[in-house]
């Protein structure tokens, strides 16, 4: 089975702290994604990456950065956390569209619930 593992299920940070959220997948997927989930707003894409060292901004990239140094790992960084970044963060991965292995599905991690005080 595909496994997408997020490093922390629950985090509590203070305003201004630097926050790292890490995600690792074990299926050799090219694509990796970071979403933010808030009640009533559904899932909003922060950043995605289709290859090592490649990144694309999503719908709400402000206040976030990402790093993809290895194919299996995609990190989300909050340089200076703010209270409005309190949310559930979901990592996902998939094969590259056009790949013979692409089934169209996204595979999600369990989520990281971040609270910024």
């Amino acid at each position: 089975d595909v496994k997408v593992t997020q490093s922390s299920r629950y985090l509590v940070k203070r305003t201004g702290e630097k926050v790292f959220l890490e995600c690792v997948q074990d299926m050799d997927h090219e694509n990796m994604f970071w979403y933010r989930q808030d009640p009533g707003l559904g899932l909003r894409l922060i950043y995605f990456s289709y290859d090592v060292k490649m990144k694309e901004k999503g719908d709400i990239p402000e206040g976030y950065s990402v790093s993809r140094e290895k194919k299996e790992r995609f990190s989300l960084i909050l340089e200076s956390a703010s209270t409005n970044q309190t949310s559930m963060y979901l990592c996902a991965s998939s094969f590259l569209l056009g790949s013979s292995l692409h089934t169209g599905e996204l595979f999600f991690g369990e989520g990281s619930r971040l609270t910024v005080l």
Binding site: G42, L43, Y50, G104, E105, R113
Partner: protein, 111 residues
């Protein structure tokens, strides 16, 4: 613009009754459509998808969905609801390498 809509924030149904969670779409090109489910404090899980072919798609946990091109809908259905089906359900459409998600519908199955 590509979009999917879920007109109901909340659906309540009694255990054993049939359930329907609604999704409508507005997409150009091929209307590939997906349903995902999210159980409390978990990530999303794939339920089923429509790509081409039969308009009735069967998926995991006894769920099915009917693609209706004339009504631009892709409603999720189950003949007999279980309390364990209580969760948040998302309709989604792949767009480029990404997905467009609906806002989600919370399903509550009452014992």
């Amino acid at each position: 613009a590509q979009s999917v809509a879920q007109p109901e924030d909340q659906v309540n149904v009694a255990e054993g009754n049939p359930l329907t969670v609604k999704c409508t779409y507005s997409v150009s090109g091929n209307p590939y459509l997906f349903w995902y489910v999210q159980y409390p404090n978990r990530g999303l899980q794939f339920l089923l998808k429509y790509i081409t072919g039969d308009n009735l798609v069967k998926g995991s946990y006894g769920f099915e969905a009917e693609f209706n091109k004339s009504q631009t809908s892709f409603h999720l259905k189950k003949p007999s609801a279980l309390v364990s089906d209580s969760a948040l359900y998302f309709c989604a459409h792949p767009y480029g390498q990404n997905f467009v998600f609906g806002p989600g519908t919370r399903l509550s199955v009452l014992p």
